[in-house]
């Protein structure tokens, strides 16, 4: 199968010489959920932002459907890649519907405002996540979990083929974490490719089909969750001991107490 998004020999630095990462390669195919694990500050967020050109690589390439993203405009990228930040706040109390409608921006000209068709697409995104009831509420007054869903709806309104999620579960309660993973899984079944970073190796078991561990400016391992999330790798990555246990319908990664 041909890859939707591919990153080749990528390196990045903020100041020109201290590399955040270098020599990174991976590719994501249709329906993949690619989960990047790693300790705080290893550059997971930076890597994800390089995929839709929010940040630019020092060297290397990002290919979107075999096209170099540096040859594409921001709106062409946004038609294909949706990005969901770790946390988002709005200054102005826009209604949820107005926020979701903003996802139409890449499809509209500079002077255009959304029209009937765009309203329909935005309504559909809200429906697909079962949050139509939020439509008229001010975005600034809904809960963090709801805001996350609204932002996912916004990104779906872009009608992308790739979703980038930066630690989608880190600000959510226990239940919403699993519900969000479930939504991500459903979206991937509809054909979307997902690249996400996470602080929870266990969640990779729940949703991902590809996992990479980022450490010391590179991936130290990449493969299926079962291959990559091992007791040795977790010790190396996080400096703690874990136990990988079979709990019936899946395997789980359980941290042990530090002795």
């Amino acid at each position: 199968m041909s890859s939707i998004i591919e990153i080749i020999d990528a390196s990045f630095s903020y100041d020109g010489y201290n590399k955040i990462f270098e020599g990174i390669n991976f590719s994501v195919e249709k329906g993949d959920i690619f989960c990047i694990l790693g300790a705080n500050g290893t550059g997971k967020t930076t890597l994800i932002k390089c995929l839709n050109r929010l940040m630019e690589l020092d060297s290397g390439k990002v290919l979107l459907n075999n096209q170099d993203i540096y040859s594409l405009s921001h709106s062409e990228i946004a038609k294909n890649i949706g990005y969901i930040p770790q946390i988002h706040n709005s200054t102005f109390p826009f209604s949820v519907f107005d926020v979701v409608l903003m996802g139409r921006a890449p499809h509209l000209d500079l002077f255009e405002s959304p029209g009937e068709e765009d309203f329909k697409i935005a309504e559909k995104s809200l429906e697909s996540l079962n949050i139509s009831y939020l439509k008229d509420k001010p975005y600034t007054e809904i809960s963090g979990g709801e805001r996350q869903l609204v932002f996912i709806a916004l990104v779906l309104t872009q009608e992308p083929s790739v979703l980038l999620l930066d630690e989608p579960t880190s600000h959510l309660d226990f239940g919403n974490q699993i519900r969000t993973l479930n939504i991500i899984e459903k979206l991937s079944k509809k054909g979307l490719s997902v690249v996400m970073s996470s602080h929870f190796p266990d969640q990779a078991f729940i949703s991902a089909n590809k996992v990479a561990i980022m450490r010391d400016k590179n991936f130290i391992d990449m493969g299926t969750p079962e291959e990559v999330i091992t007791e040795q790798n977790m010790a190396k990555t996080y400096g703690i001991h874990v136990k990988i246990v079979d709990i019936g319908d899946r395997v789980a990664c359980v941290p042990l107490k530090i002795k």
Partner: protein, 355 residues
């Protein structure tokens, strides 16, 4: 047949009310009515008595093919004195309000006014300098306009020298440039001839529409109107931009060019407004808030509403300024004296909570 039509109508109406914004658009249209009434009423105010009938006849005779003729003195009063002043008040009010609303969206901060990047202080110094050099009225306007543009250009260039130009650095540089030009204004006052130039500078800085002529409008009107049209065209994108730079970019917005369009338009608008009537504070900050309380934060309706409300407010203020006492009260003083308590009242009434 009738039933299907009725059904269709309710369908369409339902559709419209679904559209959310539609409700607000009709509010915007409703806002126009008091503006039109105030516009007509403003012709009646002044030392020379003009009756409502005179105004309607005169306007009718001027703009529609009719055979009425009106007396030359009435013609002068209405078209040479009162009309330019009314138009200028509405235009400046609209200009400052729409620039304020756009800047608040651009900087994602409801406390920002259009003078944040130094345009007002720069224009003020431009005017003060022209007065010091004993240049004429036209040159004062042009010099004010240029001063405003120079100040914002300086702000932009300074912010460029910092790494990672963000909107925050731009505002910080704007504050520095603003105080620099404020100091230059103070210096101009200090060195000015205290009997001739100083009062001129002081009055000019407090803002007045007393001396506005049709020629002023022809000079400063076009840049204001063009700037407003550009902002209106891109107004929906300001929503997207106000979600944050990174978010907007990931939604496909070319943020650099959009920011540049907004800054240039607002600067040209504000500099021209200051050129017409001096410095009038407060409107650019308050009117967008009032508009937001009425139509909500969606810039698609917020910008038109700000334009209408701004035009209404400054026209009202100017009417008050020329009738309250026998001497005209400078506009800058009135906008604050009337605007500030009114704004506090609205704030205490509004449900909006700023996080």
């Amino acid at each position: 047949m009738i039933k299907t039509i009725k059904l269709k109508i309710t369908d369409v109406l339902g559709n419209i009310s679904n559209k959310f914004t539609a409700h607000n658009i009709s509010v915007t249209i409703l806002l126009i009515i008091p503006l039109v009434l105030l516009f007509l009423f403003s012709f009646l105010i002044g030392r020379y008595p003009v009756s409502p009938l005179d105004v309607i006849t005169a306007l009718y005779a001027k703009f529609l093919p009719a055979n009425y003729s009106i007396s030359p003195s009435l013609d002068t009063i209405i078209f040479q004195i009162r009309l330019p002043r009314i138009i200028a008040a509405m235009m400046v009010g609209a200009a400052l309000s729409v620039a304020g609303a756009s800047f608040q969206g651009l900087f994602r901060n409801p406390l920002v006014a259009p003078d944040k990047l130094g345009v007002t202080a720069g224009a003020g110094f431009g005017a003060a300098l022209a007065i010091l050099l004993s240049l004429g009225g036209l040159m004062i306007q042009i010099s004010a306009f240029i001063g405003g543009l120079v100040a914002v250009t300086l702000t932009y260039l300074f912010s460029k020298t910092f790494k990672g130009t963000s909107m925050l650095t731009l505002v910080l540089c704007g504050i520095a440039v603003e105080s620099f030009f404020a100091a230059l204004i103070a210096l101009s006052k200090y060195v000015a001839d205290p009997f001739q130039q100083l009062p001129t500078i002081v009055f000019w800085l407090m803002g007045s529409l007393a001396a506005v002529t049709n020629q002023d409008l022809l000079l400063m009107g076009p840049p204001i109107i063009i700037g407003i049209i550009i902002l209106l065209l891109i107004r929906w994108r300001i929503n997207v931009l106000s979600m944050g730079e990174e978010e907007a970019q990931s939604m496909g917005v070319n943020i650099k060019s959009l920011q540049a369009i907004i800054i240039v338009s607002c600067t040209v608008i504000t500099a021209s407004a200051v050129g017409i009537c001096g410095i009038i504070g407060w409107i650019g900050l308050v009117i967008p808030h009032v508009a937001r309380m009425i139509v909500g934060p969606d810039h698609k309706v917020l910008l038109p509403a700000s334009i209408i409300l701004g035009a209404f407010f400054l026209l009202l203020i100017d009417d008050v300024s020329r009738t309250m006492i026998s001497v005209e009260i400078p506009l800058g003083i009135l906008t604050a004296i009337i605007g500030a308590p009114f704004f506090l009242y609205l704030l205490s009434k509004s449900k909006e909570v700023w996080a």
